[in-house]
């Protein structure tokens, strides 16, 4: 819908009005077409801007994620530009709206690569959206594609690089902690799609490796808005610990139901952070999870950056569950790779990405593990508090992605 919008201010106005109305789309197509002529070719002069496309969901079901993504992308690009840009050239950021709809993602991605001729595209929210655009961007478009979403793993497409967490990075330290706390029997549950299934597969493997036993594993439909049967099954399982991957909105009645229903074991998952905890109310107390960032981690650089972000975008959402640190990380690791390559030439940047590494990142140092197309992340184990904040239990240090892209 926002397909032809390349001017940022127009996009901002549009996001408030709401994309998706066919009428609005047509209207904007008509007025957006005039600025197609301003696009230059690849390369260009030394102070010619480098065009970077950011694709996310500013409207529709994932609209809040998109708001967060857009804010951190603008913040990061402004910061890079203020410090001399990339190879001395400023970045021109073009944000497009996929409207939480894979078909729209395909349309706006095509415009980023063919009309706007961007050098790189960053952004994914759901795997369905990533699948819809990767061949358009990174295949035929031959454009570098950076995926910041934390997801189920396994994305090894050409020219495509993942900077979000894969299951083992969150699951292993969390399960290890539960085992350390003496948990032996585990109940697993989640929504029925690839991310929860892969996370719980990783959890089951780690549990059984560590001598624990899985006493039940259940899934509810993706569309579920309530989960009373999972609450019952969790309570009657009498497991020492629960590992759950239930997405909003059903996670709220699930957590409240389990806690209020008198379940006494530990509750862990991959989807807890400061942006989601408040929804659980006081029942958030004691939930366990590992993330690449919590607001309470003790890292001076992270604190300084997040404070600067908050000052500039006081109303924008920011958090690990919204992939905010990953967007920041993705843009900087790309900057490092381009500068190491000395140009934006695709092959050269791909080679440099393979071993790109950077320390001054939100959440801590990160690097691509050569041959995996995925990143090693500094992870933190947190205990959620009744007020929604997170008590950091442990700085887990660097966690490698496991089993990605035929790493030897």
């Amino acid at each position: 819908m926002a397909s032809n919008m390349t001017r940022r201010e127009a996009l901002q106005r549009f996001a408030v009005g709401g994309a998706g109305l066919a009428l609005g789309g047509t209207l904007l197509t008509a007025c957006g077409s005039s600025d197609g002529s301003s696009s230059g070719g690849r390369g260009g002069g030394s102070d010619e801007p480098i065009r970077v496309g950011a694709i996310t969901d500013l409207t529709g079901a994932y609209g809040i994620v998109g708001k967060a993504n857009k804010a951190i992308a603008e913040f990061t690009v402004d910061e890079i530009n203020a410090n001399g840009g990339v190879l001395g050239r400023p970045i021109e950021l073009i944000v497009v709206d996929g409207a939480s709809d894979p078909a729209t993602w395909g349309k706006v991605a095509r415009q980023l690569v063919t009309r706007d001729k961007v050098e790189m595209v960053i952004g994914d929210v759901s795997s369905a959206e990533r699948e819809a655009v990767k061949s358009i961007i990174a295949g035929r478009g031959r454009t570098l594609y950076i995926c910041p979403a934390s997801y189920e793993g396994g994305e090894c497409y050409e020219n495509t690089w993942t900077v979000g967490a894969v299951p083992n990075q969150q699951v292993n330290p969390t399960v290890d902690y539960l085992l350390e706390q003496g948990a032996r029997s585990f109940y697993l549950c989640g929504n029925d799609y690839s991310y929860p299934r892969n996370v719980l597969k990783a959890a089951r493997a780690r549990i059984e490796e560590g001598g624990g036993e899985v006493v039940g594993e259940d899934y509810i439909p993706v569309s579920a808005t309530d989960a009373p049967e999972l609450v019952r099954k969790t309570i009657s399982s009498n497991a020492d610990a629960v590992f759950e991957v239930i997405v909003l909105p059903a996670s709220v009645p699930y957590i409240k139901g389990v806690v209020d229903g008198g379940y006494e074991g530990l509750i862990a998952g991959t989807l807890f952070d400061e942006t989601i905890n408040p929804l659980f109310g006081r029942q958030a107390q004691g939930l366990i999870g590992a993330q690449d960032y919590f607001a309470t981690i003790d890292d001076p650089f992270t604190k300084q950056e997040v404070a600067a972000f908050r000052k500039k975008y006081p109303k924008a959402p920011f958090g690990s569950a919204l992939n905010s640190p990953a967007w920041y990380r993705g843009l900087y690791l790309w900057k490092v790779a381009v500068e190491n390559a000395g140009s934006t030439d695709l092959d050269a940047v791909n080679e440099a990405m393979n071993s790109a590494s950077y320390d001054r990142l939100i959440g801590g140092p990160s690097r691509f593990v050569p041959g995996t197309k995925h990143v090693e992340l500094t992870m933190y184990l947190g205990e959620m508090q009744a007020d929604g904040s997170v008590k950091v239990l442990k700085d887990l240090g660097p966690q490698e992605p496991e089993g990605q892209c035929n790493a030897s």
């Binding site: 709401g18 994620v65 808005t225 009373p228 609450v231 009657s236 709220v252 139901g257 929804l279 109310g281």
Partner: protein, 285 residues
Amino acid sequence: MSPETIRTIFDVASLTSILVLLVLGMAVIVGMMQVFNLCQGELVLLGAVVAYVAHEWLGSVLLGILVAPFAVAAFGAVLERTVIRRFYANAAGALLATFAVGFLIRAIVLARMSSQGEPVPAPIDGTVGIGGADVSAWRLVIIVVVVLAVAATYLSLTRTAIGLRVRATLDDVELAAASGISTRRMFTGTYAFGAALAGLAGAMIVPLQALYPSLGFDNLVPMFLSVMVGGLGTLHGPLLGAVALGVPTALLPTWIDSVLSQVLVIFAAIVFMRLRPGGLVNRDI
């Protein structure tokens, strides 16, 4: 009875009552008025918004729940006068127009939000012990409110003079107009009444989840399915449809996989609609 059994029965009652509550307003607008109102979910959302705003500004969710039906009814009345009215004779137009209205409401709510959801606490928190099982106090309140709301709606439509006029208008508009009933006002009032019930539903269920833009939209499929299974033209048809859908949806996962049970329920509903296109309650047969 074991606490497990009590908890199961309670869950069935809770889930079914929530679906009945969501369908109640739709039973009036879609069932009785036969307007294919795709923004029904957003009328529910607006009820939730009222509860949230009352919580944020006045510190009282309860006040929000009391105000929500009136606020959403007022919105519904304006919507009927400006948009819905134009599409009584044009079902496809009504679908498109109400979808657009729903989309706009969702987009506006999204634009005003800065988190994945806004928590709204239940006016009554905690649990109540029933025969050794701890059940959610707020869900118990919802069950009671649903019974009262259904009874009040039924009685006001069947036992009051206004209800009789509403039924007469929906039965035969031309005759109603010829006999001095101001049918425009009846349509506005009936739509507003259906909107009020949707608003009540939204305000009651938002403490169970959280305020988020697709709060109502996410429930639109089971809501419409209830109406189709129950049959058009009456109030009680869609409500029976909601019970017919809600009970197995809540009960089957006790024994079989939740995902499979959802597929089975929807499949059974589709087969039922093939065999009996008029629905459970159909006076034309």
